[in-house]
Structures are given as structure tokens and as C-alpha cells.
Assembly symmetry: none
Homo-oligomer: 303 residues x 2
Amino acid sequence: MHGEPHDDERGMRPDLRDAGGRNIIEIIRAMRAELRKSDRKVADVVLKDPQRILNATVGETATLAEVSQPTVLRFAMAIGCKGFQDFKIRLAQSLAFGTPATHSVLLDTDDPETVAEKIFEYTMTSLDWARSHLDRTALRKAIDILAQARTIEFFGFGASGIVARDAQQKFPLFGVPCGAQLDSHQQIMIASMMKQGDVAFVISNTGTTRSIIEIARIARANGAAVICLTGSESPLTSYCDVALIVETLENTNMYTPTISRIAALVVIDVLSTSVAMRRPIEDQARIHNMKRQLSDMRKVQPI
Amino acid sequence: MHGEPHDDERGMRPDLRDAGGRNIIEIIRAMRAELRKSDRKVADVVLKDPQRILNATVGETATLAEVSQPTVLRFAMAIGCKGFQDFKIRLAQSLAFGTPATHSVLLDTDDPETVAEKIFEYTMTSLDWARSHLDRTALRKAIDILAQARTIEFFGFGASGIVARDAQQKFPLFGVPCGAQLDSHQQIMIASMMKQGDVAFVISNTGTTRSIIEIARIARANGAAVICLTGSESPLTSYCDVALIVETLENTNMYTPTISRIAALVVIDVLSTSVAMRRPIEDQARIHNMKRQLSDMRKVQPI
DNA sequence: TAGTTTTATGTAATTTTACTACAGAATGGA
DNA sequence: TCCATTCTGTAGTAAAATTACATAAAACTA
């Protein structure tokens, strides 16, 4: 432990270092042409499957690129890294932004573990996508409306019905009576009886289901505020005061599970939590109590 | 079928599971309280200056935290990483997002946008945690059992009831008649009538609800296979053939939404998809048709 | 073209780093 | 208090990254 190893950057601001050459993948791509022949082989395997390299050692990388280990090291140096470790760290940071989509495609040959990995990965990526595409203005408006509601009715069919039921179960957070209508006759009845001060919360992934559009129209005609939670701009949105559009990466692969309901559930979490936070402290304490009581009850016997 | 698109023909790495980790910093923060004393020292230096740790070795980290090197390793394992290298990679990815220190703990003063960011972030982090802690052997067993079932009944209360209902809606993927029992009287009736070849799928986050344990016991006594989906090792697991334990970062903050049901839904996705993939091609085509018909129907009028 | 220099790449040794086995210390329960 | 369990450090081992060096391939000169 004598002297200071590699201390050429001691005076340098470490924050500035990665701000300068941020995306290492872009750097590799840019430098690819002027690299040594063998280094280029390494560059190619990195560009082809960067995720793979993240968990690889020098040796594995060398094998993949069909070069020797020192070549991998020289490659790392050539693109401006201090060593292989440093290279991997930079690569990891570059990948964090957007993982290439090829990863989550399910194959018939995948074993259960791989299927699990891919579905989880895909779900998380989709949530990230939904988050970044959420309309903040609409969100704010929806919270305003919900916070002033006298009652809230959630409407939905099928998978969206699940979301409606889940939302309804959060009534302690919303602080007002909540209902969930999953049957279309009931839906029409309830919608017809709504009035000023009530909120109709309409959930439909496609936004094209006729009867659900009808619900929005009726509720609105009766003076209720209408909020919809849907997957894209659609006929439904035009009948609503606020449209919460939750975009997801739903692709058409038959194996791809429906991610939309999960994104919708998270949005419901956001809404209910935000509404609860608006309420006075004493109410929040009451919720806390209720939660504890529920937890106690579970240990004995519900119903 | 020669794997033409696969470049891995040289040495099949079964180790290709990527560490596409979400925000490890969030995980550390969430787990800090329940860590060992020495591990917490490590957690603190990581949280204090993550950037510093990125360029540090195990030895350096140990010195900074004033603990021994193995402790640093154990810390990495404790937070769900495969080793120190893996930990650094994950840390690098987390830092790339530029997460400020105050994340994920909801404050009364947060505006709706911040609340949304935090809840999404927390949800994704928790999913990542659940993914990395999923018991692959149990998963495989569960799939085996479900694929051979004659009928499947899903049991659950409250939030777990939502999950049960969702699972039941996936019956086309499971390929056999599925039921969802959310009422405790119905549950007992149905459980009593189950027999060999049937599968009871019991969902309970706590795993301590008496009546749900009773369901597992009855179903099993009647010769049905019993699978449970729960949050931790509990009395329930001992009555089951397979226990799918989905760990989440549920902390006790009153604002923290229940993440467990979302993780459970994803696990259901994995199960249903895997079971569907086991089935013969012609069945898969039938599912495809059904999906299209459903999508067509939506545009007309469901009722 | 042959010889010479320069550059590129691989082999093998070396250093560093990550990881494991084990044993002593601390903690908690009876 | 003792016993069992859980922590944590010491010391040793395996593995990975890095360096030194030698050979092969270009590139250049005469």
C-alpha cells in the first residue's frame, strides 16, 4: 500500500468523467471502423449482445469473439476504458437506459425459468414505458376530481373488471363509498342513477367496447364526472372529462401476457395514494388503524 | 433444427440469465433495516457514495465500511446479487438512472407527479426483487402439476381474491375448466368436492389466514394437488404440495401500496403461459382464434 | 524482392481480486 | 447460566484481470 496507484485522475471530478463519454455503446459504434482487426471482433460481439457481456469474464468474452484474452483487454483500452472492469461498468450504465427489445421474445423452446425471466423483464420494461408516457396533467386532474367525489363507481369488463374490483377495494384510501360494476346490466342501472358529485371511473383497455362507451355517455349526461383509464386514444376518451392513457408495449405475440392490467393497477395505486395524501391527518390515522385491525383479523377468521 | 439464429453454438452457456436488475439502490434502502449490523455498515457507505463504490474493489469497500472482506460479499448476497461483480454491475445501472437519494419514501409534501414516479419505481424494483427470489424448482413443479390438471380452482380473499379471479380468467391458457372462489362458504364447499386430478391453487399473501389454510387441508385430504402462492414461509405452506413464495419489499409505510398482488399476477402470467406452451400446437391455434373472436366481439357489443 | 522496422496478436507467467471454509465471538432464548 | 443460533473475522483458495514477452503479420525501404 505505498504510493498511489492510477492516481492520474485524482484532481479530476469523477462526475464529469462519465458525463463526457456517456454512452459507451455509441463510442464503440463510432470507433469501430478505426479499430484493429481483432479488436473489431470484440466490438462486434459487444454490440450484438451487450447484455451477455455484462455477465461475462475476460475469458468468456475472448471465446465469444474468437480472440485471445489480452486482445479483449486491449480493446477495452482502445475505447478509452481503464480496464475490463471499468469497461463493464460503463457498459452497464449505457444499457440501463434502454435494453434492446430482442430479449423478451418468447420462444417455444424456452424452459420455465427463461419464460419467467422474460415475462418479468417484459413487465418491468412495460411499466417503465407506461410511466414515462403518463400524462401528468391528466393525472393531476383525475386526482382533483377523485378527491372531491362524493361516491366513486368503477366500471370494467373482463381483465379491466379485475382492475375495477381492485380499485373498489381501495375505498379506504379514496375515503368515500366506492362500487365496482362488472355486469353490463348493473353498469347501465348504476350509471343511470349517478348525479352531480359522483365520479364514474371507466376502465377499458381497448376503449372501443360499445357498452362501456355508453356507460361514460350516460354517466356524463347525468352530471357525474367521468374519468377513463384506457390503453390509447379512442372513441371512449371523447366522452370523458379526463382520459388517463396508459400506453404499454403490448405486442401481438400470442404468448405475451396482458401487461395493460398491471400498468392500470399501478395507476390506481398512484391515484388512491395521492387522494389519501390530500386528506387531513386524522383521516390518515384512521386508515392506519383500519389496516392494523384487518391484519389482526386475518390471523383469526375472516367472515 | 440447427440453431441458425443462435450464435452460442460454441459453448452453450446455461448461465445466460442476465442481471437486468432494476434499482439496486432502492432495494438496499428498503432492506437496510433488516440487514445484519455489519452489512448495514456496508449498505451505508454504498448509499452515501455509490459512485465511489463503482470503482472500488472488495478490499477497498471493506476498508471504507470498516468491516472484513467476506462481510462485503455477504452483503452483496443478502441484497440478492450473485456476487460482488454482479452487485457492481447492478449499482452501475441504478446510478445511470440518476436516482436522487430521496427516492421511494413518500412524503406528505410530494406532488402527484412525484408520487407517480415513486410508486412506479418502487413497483418495478419490487418486481425485480420478486423475480430474483423466485424458487425455480417450485415453479417448475407447479407447472408440471397444472399441466396435468383436470380442473383448477383458485382460492383467495380480498386482494388475493383479485389475483384468483385474474387467474381464473386465464383458463384458455390453462386449457381446463377453472374456477375462482372468493367466498369462504363457497370455498369450503368446492374444496370438499375436489378429488384426485383436480388442483387447488390457494392464494394468500400472509399465509396465516385460518380459513384459507383449512381449504388447503381439505382439498389435500380429498386427493387434490395443492399449490399455494404466498408471501413467505408460513403455516399454509406445510399443507401444500408446492409453495410458490413471492417475496416483495413490502414495508410498513402507510402509503406504500400493496405490491404483492402485482407480483402475484406476474407469477400467474408465467404459470399460465408456461402451461399453454406445453400444450400441442393445435390447441395453441385454438387459443389464438379465441383471442381474435374476443377482440372482434369487443368492437360490437358484449352484454 | 529481401531485409528491416513497425504493428498486431497470441502464449504464458504474474498480480490482483473475488470468493469459501472454518472457527471464534456475539447474541438470544430457556 | 448454559446451549443453540446467528454474526463476523482470519486465513486460505480459486479465478479473474493484467503484464511481459515472443512470434506473426504488415508496412516500409532499398
